[in-house]
């Protein structure tokens, strides 16, 4: 009987001296995979203009109907985005979003990218609706890289057109 007990404790003893598997979240955060789909970010161009042109294709592609885009015409003197059109209102309801990434796929300007932020908890339902101000990256943080999925595709033509006339 004792031999069985010791045999069992052997496994315990072995793990006692190994590195723990548990990560002390939130003090310690595990890195996510390159292709992890976390919270969306709206990217900018290098000159600070928003990449989003308010075309609503993300909203059309969204299977969960989580995105609302209300477009408007750019002021030619102080444009918000290149071209004639920009998103006056851009909202994503994080409670509806299923993080499928179709919006990213549909975006013709690579404006919306599912980044690696995954801490999405809210005190109220309204907090779950992220307006454009919370989604867009600050101008000084540079412009969005081409999403990793597209990088992997290499020279093959990506699903958003590489060229656009705005």
């Amino acid at each position: 009987m004792i031999s069985e007990l010791l045999k069992g404790l052997q496994t315990t003893g072995r793990y006692l001296f190994r590195q723990p598997v548990t990560v002390q979240y939130p003090e310690v955060k595990r890195p996510v995979r390159e292709r992890f789909r976390g919270r969306h970010e709206l990217k900018r161009f290098a000159n600070g203009l928003e990449r989003c042109i308010g075309c609503s294709l993300c909203a059309a592609a969204c299977p969960a109907d989580a995105i609302l885009v209300v477009p408007a015409e750019n002021d030619p003197e102080h444009p918000t985005s290149p071209g004639e059109r920009y998103a006056k209102i851009y909202e994503i309801n994080m409670l509806r979003c299923i993080f499928c990434g179709y919006c990213e796929d549909a975006c013709p300007t690579n404006a919306i990218v599912l980044e690696h932020q995954y801490e999405l908890s809210f005190y109220s339902r309204w907090d779950a609706v992220y307006p454009k101000e919370r989604l867009i990256v600050p101008p000084d943080q540079g412009y969005g890289e081409v999403p990793p999925v597209l990088k992997e595709l290499g020279n093959k033509s990506p699903s958003p057109p590489a060229q656009m006339d705005l």
Binding site: C55, A59, E84, M164
Partner: protein, 953 residues
């Protein structure tokens, strides 16, 4: 008659009428030939080369003239090159191939060329999602391009073509649909091509640019996103829109529209196909003038006067107060001390209940729909008695038709009819236009008559005389009386007609002749004709009767009444002298009693007061309480302000806090047409339905529901006091249950509960209208919804891209045209001419030398235009003067002039125009800040004109 022609397209044998082109023929058997420049409503030009097909015809033996046969089949000789299908008319035995390799290669080539310089900006383009270029590229395009991506032409964009339409030159494929629409259909040749080669582009040739009332239609038919409206620009993507079938209520045409909604907002207004009404077009007022619905100035709660202020109250409080005050007035002064006016853009349901409230509950016939200005047009009854027959469709008229337009300017009064009339002339019809002054319709008229102001009746009598001379009474098929009186009235020498009207005898004879000889004939008369008095419409009716142009489809009278439901107002009996369905008051009251209503009070059978008499009645103390529904007399006729201030109790029901509402004791907030159910009756007596597209703001209720709320509160109050006093002579069970009128309504009033109030939906009101209003039998909502059109030109419904990608589908009902009395057997008509009303008392007065010709403008001081971009098109108040008169007055264009009559004075800017006859001044009737009613003394007003002050900037 067009013969039928049999041909073979892609191996399918089909038979189509002669004159059909190959594109349309292929469509009838479901073969799609891609097109850009071709549009079934426009002339084929073959500009885009997209519809290339291989065509062959049977080889003919020159000796015998017979088809050569080989193995018993005709030998087909193919054309050496591909042909454009839209310009190729079918011929017997023709063989068409639409999908050979050669054809496909040509189609791919054309698309590749079209896309060489087309920008890749579909994500920002308003047409994206309903774009024929996108669709055809997906369906027929090559997929790749051999052209350099960066070698595209770039232009400045967008270029405004007018203030409503923007042009994106980069996207334009130069199909010319917009140019052809403006030239051929709208008869406003304001667009054109400029330069050549790669610089070739569309320009506006007019000043102000794109000066057309139909400009919005060009954006519908544009096959790319080159033309967009400023109204819809970047507001939404088309796939996000939800189309709600509705109607335009601005004018009597009653165009079918779709309100394209995104959530609760109206994003755009699109035409909805209805071959009997508007085809696939709408005017700019219908398209851009519906923003009042979303105005931030809408009323949202009932308001009640407390001291000097209007404060918010609950519905119960509002109804109770109204009931108490109205009942108190009724008790003290009788029901005839109450009066009501209802607007002409309310639905039939509202109007029906409104008159029921007054006639049945208050026992008063003091009802009207006019404001009571001296220039109010007389009620048009002939227009319904002898109205155009059911089944009439102006869209389909052509050869063999004569349309006589008299005293009307369809461009301003009923714009879409202008398109139809123009199209009719193109199809070989005859258009006789008789007017005081030139209108746009003269361009397309086959005969234009210019009569002197005030002589239209004499002109029509001249026509009648010729018709009687030529045909006698052999065409007279209806039962009539008064022929002898008519003959007596016509007993002048023709020369006197000629000298009075200024129209030559040849022209009168020619007009009468074409009218008489036509297979179908329609008489359209408008505001200027109605201003000549009822004698003219009576004579127009006689003309139609004697020429035998009544009681059948595409024949009869068509009155251009002022607003969207002006016909419904008359049908529902919101007038002092007739009940619903034009029934005389006594018989209407009897019918109500028969149907179980209360015994009619004395006031219910006597003719009530018209609006004009009401205002006097208030001043004299005969009218104590008024109920104004959807009408704003204080701004349209400022003279009513004293009466409105004096009246003891004033209830105003409106969408906005109008000047009238500001004077009210209780203001009730009404839902707009887009927020409710309802039916409207157009000029051709077609009853059509609107549906709710958005929730009403705040506490707004549909008008009929508010009328019902008042009626129920009044009845509850009456019942309560009757029980208290124990004087109830007849039990009033009206409020109990929602039982409809018992079958065999002859039961005595004391037994039957009668038609109760307590309607839950507008549909229930409509069912009661269908039961009780003569003419409306069977027009229930279910039937209105079923009457869907199959669509024209042999196409299937919802083949939207055929017309350019935009949704015109009508699956929600085309309405029901109820028959005119002339179509029913047993109707009798009087030919007896009426006394010609002489011009106003000061006719020969030298102090007032000018006769006022009033003109209705489409873009006028209409409160429904608020928040619309069309406000920029509303002219500042003006008076137009003939150049010779202007010279003698020393007036130049732009001067301020005083226009004075016996009644009052207006100060207006002068315009000098040779379109105005000498001795007349032309004043638009309702421009903001200068209501013509201030100077009017009657239907015809004489004024003095003098220059004031300096030249205006």
């Amino acid at each position: 008659m067009a013969e039928d022609i049999t041909l073979i397209i892609d191996g399918v044998k089909l038979t189509v009428p002669e004159g059909t082109n190959v594109v349309d023929a292929a469509r009838t058997v479901g073969i799609e030939i891609p097109v850009f420049c071709y549009h079934p409503r426009l002339r084929s030009v073959g500009m885009c080369r997209m519809c290339m097909v291989a065509v062959g015809i049977p080889r003919i033996d020159r000796d015998t003239g017979q088809c050569l046969l080989e193995n018993n089949r005709p030998v087909i000789s193919m054309f050496p090159r591909l042909q454009t299908a839209c310009t190729t008319l079918v011929s017997p035995g023709m063989v068409v191939m639409t999908s050979t390799d050669e054809v496909k290669r040509a189609q791919r080539g054309i698309l590749e060329f079209l896309l060489t310089s087309h920008p890749l900006d579909c994500p920002v383009c308003d047409k994206g999602g309903e774009c024929p270029l996108q669709n055809l590229t997906m369906g027929w395009g090559p997929g790749t391009s051999r052209f350099e991506y960066h070698n595209k032409m770039h232009f400045e964009k967008p270029v405004p073509l007018g203030d409503l339409i923007l042009l994106d030159r980069e996207r334009c494929i130069l199909c010319g649909r917009c140019v052809r629409f403006q030239d051929e259909l709208a008869d406003d040749p304001v667009l054109g091509f400029d330069l050549r080669g790669r610089d070739w582009h569309i320009i506006s040739k007019s000043d102000p640019p794109f000066d057309s009332k139909f400009s919005g239609n060009t954006t519908d038919i544009c096959p790319v996103g080159a033309l967009t409206t400023t109204d819809f620009r970047f507001r939404s993507r088309v796939w996000e829109l939800r189309s709600v079938p509705s109607l335009c209520i601005h004018c009597p045409v009653g165009c079918n529209v779709n309100l394209d909604m995104r959530h609760r907002e109206v994003m755009r207004v699109m035409p909805r196909e209805n071959l009997a009404v508007n085809d696939i077009w709408i005017c700019d007022k219908g398209r851009f003038g519906q923003h009042f619905v979303e105005s931030s100035e809408r009323l949202t709660t009932p308001l009640m006067r407390r001291g000097d202020q209007l404060v918010q109250v609950s519905w119960e409080q509002a109804f109770e107060t109204i009931a108490e005050r109205f009942v108190a007035i009724q008790r003290k002064h009788g029901g005839t001390a109450l009066a009501g006016i209802a607007g002409e853009r309310l639905s039939n349901e509202d109007l029906y209940l409104f008159q029921r409230l007054f006639r049945e509950v208050f026992g008063s016939n003091n009802l009207d729909h006019r404001i009571g200005t001296p220039g109010d047009l007389p009620d048009d009854d002939i227009g319904v008695m002898l109205g155009v027959g059911s089944g009439t469709s102006l869209v389909t008229l052509g050869k063999g038709t004569t349309v006589l337009v008299i005293g009307a300017n369809p461009e301003e009064e009923a714009p879409v009819y202008l398109l139809h009339l123009h199209q009719m002339v193109k199809h070989g019809g005859e258009l006789v236009v008789a007017n005081v002054r030139p209108t746009k319709l003269d361009h397309s008229a086959t005969l234009s008559l210019r009569y002197r102001p005030g002589t239209a009746t004499q002109l029509v009598r001249g026509l009648l005389r010729v018709v009687l001379e030529e045909a006698g009474t052999k065409h007279l098929s209806q039962k009539t009386t008064g022929l002898a009186e008519l003959r007596a009235a016509l007993n002048h020498p023709m020369a006197s007609v000629v000298s009075a009207t200024g129209v030559s005898e040849d022209d009168i004879r020619a007009a009468a002749h074409t009218f008489l000889q036509a297979e179908n004939a329609v008489i359209i008369y408008g505001a200027e004709a109605m201003a000549e008095g009822t004698a003219l419409s009576q004579d127009l009716g006689s003309l139609a009767l004697i020429a035998g142009k009544t009681g059948k489809a595409n024949n009869g009278l068509l009155a251009l009444l002022p607003w969207g439901n002006s016909r419904g107002v008359l049908d529902m009996g919101v007038r002092p002298d007739r009940g619903p369905g034009y029934a005389p008051l006594a018989s209407a009251a009897k019918e109500r009693e028969g149907a179980g209503g209360r015994k009619a009070a004395e006031g219910a059978v006597q003719r009530g007061l018209s609006a004009r008499e009401m205002w006097n009645g208030v001043v004299e103390g005969r009218i104590r309480g008024m109920y104004l529904m959807g009408i704003d007399p204080a701004s349209a006729y400022p003279a009513t302000r004293t009466a409105l201030e004096k009246v003891d109790f004033l209830v105003v029901q409106d969408m906005f806090l109008t000047p009238t509402a500001q004077m009210a004791d209780v203001v009730l907030p009404a839902a707009a047409f887009a927020e409710r159910e309802g039916t409207y009756t157009n000029a051709e007596r077609r009853v059509q339905r609107v549906r709710p597209a958005r929730p009403a703001p705040g506490d707004c209720r549909p008008d009929w529901a508010m009328v019902q709320g008042i009626a129920e509160a009044v009845l509850a109050l009456l019942k309560g006091t009757d029980e208290e006093q124990g004087t109830a002579k007849e039990p009033r069970k009206k409020l109990k249950g929602k039982k409809r009128e018992a079958p065999g309504g002859a039961e005595t009033a004391t037994e039957s509960p009668g038609p109760s109030w307590g309607y839950l939906t507008a549909s229930e009101v409509a069912s009661e209208i269908a039961e009780r209003v003569p003419g409306y039998q069977g027009i229930a909502y279910t039937r209105l919804a079923n009457a869907a059109s199959r669509g024209g030109w042999g196409r299937q419904p919802n083949e939207s891209f055929y017309y350019g990608g935009t949704c015109y589908r009508n699956s929600e009902g085309v309405g029901i045209q109820y028959p005119a009395p002339a179509e029913l057997s047993g109707a009798g008509f009087s030919l007896k001419p009426r006394e010609v009303e002489t011009t106003s008392a000061s006719g020969g007065d030298t102090r007032y030398p000018f006769l006022v010709v009033t003109q209705r403008l489409l873009y006028d001081g209409d409160p429904f235009l608020r928040d619309s971009q069309l406000l920029a098109h509303v002219p500042a108040p003006y008076v137009a003067i003939n150049p010779s008169d202007a010279r003698s007055l020393g007036v130049q264009a732009g001067d301020r002039v005083r226009v004075a009559s016996v009644a009052g004075v207006l100060e207006l800017a002068a315009r000098v125009s040779d379109e105005v006859p000498a001795g007349c001044v032309l004043i638009p009737s309702n421009l903001p800040g200068a209501p013509l009613s201030m100077v009017q003394t009657g239907l015809q007003t004489r004024v003095a004109v003098s220059k004031v002050g300096g030249r205006r900037e």
